[in-house]
């Protein structure tokens, strides 16, 4: 700033002496110097600090004004001014016409007729066969062990060198309802293949971010009660189908006494798996802490019901790579959905 002044003074001096005639013709332009152009580090940092401070002061002013306005509106009984909602990717998601609507009868009819309806209507109990790819890995067996504890009525069979199609036949004979194949790559479980039986669809997921139970701090130990399922955000038709497929792995009669919940949460096409045990508690919350002035309301305590979770079991994320109609048959099968590279071009477009 001082530099600026000096410069201006210099300019004026020059102008004053030599270019007196021109003064009335050209109004003096004030040269704005960016803070980043100041070469002196101390001076520059001082200028930045000042700018930052100014910004913060302005922001605080805005917030205060907004709060005051809303409070005033409330007191007067009018409607408070609209709260500003930040723009998120979920808010600005591209419009997808396949999003399930509540009044879609076709959807419900489809649900009745699809491959999972037998299990989901409890006509058959789910029975899951877990196996691996031909080469096992270091983390694979541990992961499978944990999967066995999460999914009730699941059995592990060693892979051997059987072809997958033969395994599917074998499982059909033994009346399994689904197969899970854990595929490993570079000694880490990498992909999950979910095959519904008898002629259910085959879903190929990519597995990432696997955290085993022993690596979770303060983990809990799951019991053998049937878990509750929570499936979040499966909005589109494809998502609905995938959701039902996942649902068909678990028995539809959760044992609430066990207080176990298994969550599949879909966010931006990533399905996050979590396994918790929960507890409902009553939390005492002191009302009126915000309003420091009115001491009269400080004695009031509100009881609020909260749920608390303790994580147990593995934690991983799935991403759908392809969904194939019918059991496993990559060459001759009909693919309902395949992930292609040009689906990733838009940051606001999701499919599940």
């Amino acid at each position: 700033m001082a530099k600026e002044k000096k410069r201006k003074a210099a300019e004026e001096a020059v102008d004053g002496d030599d270019y007196i005639e021109r003064e009335d013709k050209k109004p003096k332009k004030q040269k704005l110097i960016l803070a980043s152009q100041i070469k002196n580090k101390e001076k520059r940092s001082a200028v930045y600090a000042k700018l930052k401070h100014e910004k913060r002061v302005e922001k605080h002013k805005k917030i205060k004004a907004r709060d005051a306005a809303s409070k005033q509106a409330l007191e007067l009984g009018e409607e408070p001014p609209e709260k500003m909602v930040p723009r998120t990717i979920e808010n600005t998601r591209e419009l997808d016409e396949t999003v399930c609507r509540p009044d879609d009868e076709e959807l419900f009819a489809g649900n009745d007729a699809d491959e999972f309806s037998a299990v989901l209507k409890q006509q058959t109990a789910p029975k899951v066969l877990i196996t691996t790819c031909r080469f096992n890995s270091s983390r694979g067996p541990a992961f499978i062990k944990e999967l066995l504890s999460v999914i009730p009525n699941a059995q592990y069979y060693k892979r051997g060198t059987y072809e997958l199609k033969k395994i599917v036949e074998y499982a059909k004979n033994k009346e399994f309802t689904s197969i899970i194949v854990v595929h490993t790559n570079r000694r880490e479980p990498d992909a999950l293949l979910l095959i519904g039986l008898p002629d259910g669809p085959t879903a190929h997921f990519r597995l990432s971010n696997l955290v085993l139970r022993k690596d979770i701090k303060n983990h809990g130990n799951p019991t053998s009660h049937e878990p509750e399922l929570v499936l979040n955000n499966f909005t589109t038709r494809l998502g609905h189908r995938v959701g039902r497929m996942i649902q068909s792995l678990f028995p539809q009669v959760p044992n609430f006494r066990g207080r176990r919940v298994v969550t599949f949460h879909n966010q931006r096409d990533f399905i996050f798996f979590r396994h918790h045990r929960y507890v409902f508690e009553v939390k005492e919350k002191k009302e009126g802490l915000k309003d420091k002035k009115s001491k009269a309301s400080q004695g009031k305590t509100e009881k609020k019901a909260i749920a608390r979770l303790q994580e147990c079991g593995p934690r991983f994320t799935l991403k759908l790579v392809s969904l194939q109609h019918g059991t496993f048959d990559t060459k001759g099968g009909e693919f309902e959905w395949v992930h292609k590279a040009d689906m990733d071009t838009s940051r606001r477009r999701f499919f599940i």
Partner: protein
């Protein structure tokens, strides 16, 4: 003109571009070589009368060269197609190489045997299903991991799960959750009783686990899917129970049910810490619950 010994001398002692020297010996890269070893008797350049078997697209051909054609390199090798049948091929070799040195004929037959064996193996292998390894460009891998992190942060999973569980509790999905504060539990029960007596009875009497929960679970899931589902689904929920409208009214009331009660302390049980030992507490609470149920009923 064509003196095999001279050729061999020159090749062996000076330079042969087909020769590959490795640890175990000298090998010949010449495609017309019968055995593949760099030898005086196996070198196709140093033998003016020579024969091999070569394979093209799964069909075997017998190649022969004689000294009469040594001055026409273009027409040097004579080709005979061999049948796929092993015995017949042997007969044809015998026929063509009748007056040739026995050693060479023997080597050729050995080569034919080896080649048929590996042809069979190749056919078997191609019928088998092998996993195909596909590469993923590093750019994509990085992109996916970045997006996953951001999605995880945006998801706020624990909060969502807690909210969902509370919603289910308020809806009354859990008829006998055993570690809830007695007062609140009773209040909820009373509310249910006041507004919908039939509903209460039916919930306890019918095989709720079988039907009701399934529907609830499924519709819960749908509910997450669709915004502003609320009333429609709740109407569906209690389809088999009378009084849909009452339910609709009840729901918003339940959600605002943060009434103040005096906090009741349980005797002997410590407050469950967030990540404490659950097992012990459960046992104690079960017993208490048993008593409580008697009291409530």
């Amino acid at each position: 003109m064509q003196n095999d010994d001279v050729i061999w001398d020159v090749i062996r002692h000076h330079h042969c571009s087909y020769m590959a020297k490795i640890q175990t010996g000298n090998f010949c890269r010449n495609p017309y070589n019968v055995t593949g070893i760099c030898n005086r008797s196996s070198c196709p350049l140093a033998n003016s009368r020579y024969a091999t078997i070569r394979d093209h697209d799964g069909i075997f051909y017998l190649y022969m060269k004689t000294i009469e054609r040594a001055h026409m390199p273009n027409k040097l090798w004579e080709r005979v197609k061999l049948p796929k049948n092993y015995m017949k091929a042997l007969e044809i070799i015998d026929k063509h190489l009748e007056y040739w040195p026995k050693l060479l004929v023997h080597k050729i037959k050995q080569r034919l045997t080896k080649m048929t064996q590996y042809r069979i193996r190749m056919v078997k292998l191609s019928k088998k299903v092998r996993e195909k390894i596909m590469t993923v460009p590093r750019k994509e891998v990085k992109r996916e991991s970045r997006r996953e992190e951001k999605a995880l942060r945006a998801a706020q999973i624990e909060n969502v799960i807690e909210k969902e569980l509370l919603e289910r509790l308020n809806k009354g999905v859990y008829p006998d959750i055993c570690n809830y504060d007695e007062e609140i539990f009773n209040k909820l029960l009373d509310k249910n009783k006041e507004e919908e007596q039939e509903e209460e009875e039916e919930e306890e009497a019918e095989v709720e686990y079988v039907e009701g929960d399934y529907e609830l679970e499924e519709e819960e899931e749908l509910e997450e899917d669709i915004e502003d589902m609320g009333d429609f689904l709740k109407a569906n929920n209690f389809d088999d129970i009378e009084g849909d409208e009452d339910d609709l009214e009840e729901q918003p009331a339940k959600k605002k049910a943060y009434v103040s009660y005096p906090l009741k302390q349980d005797d002997g049980t410590e407050k469950v810490r967030r990540k404490g030992k659950k097992v012990v507490v459960e046992v104690e609470r079960d017993e208490d619950m048993g008593n409580r149920q008697h009291n409530a009923m």
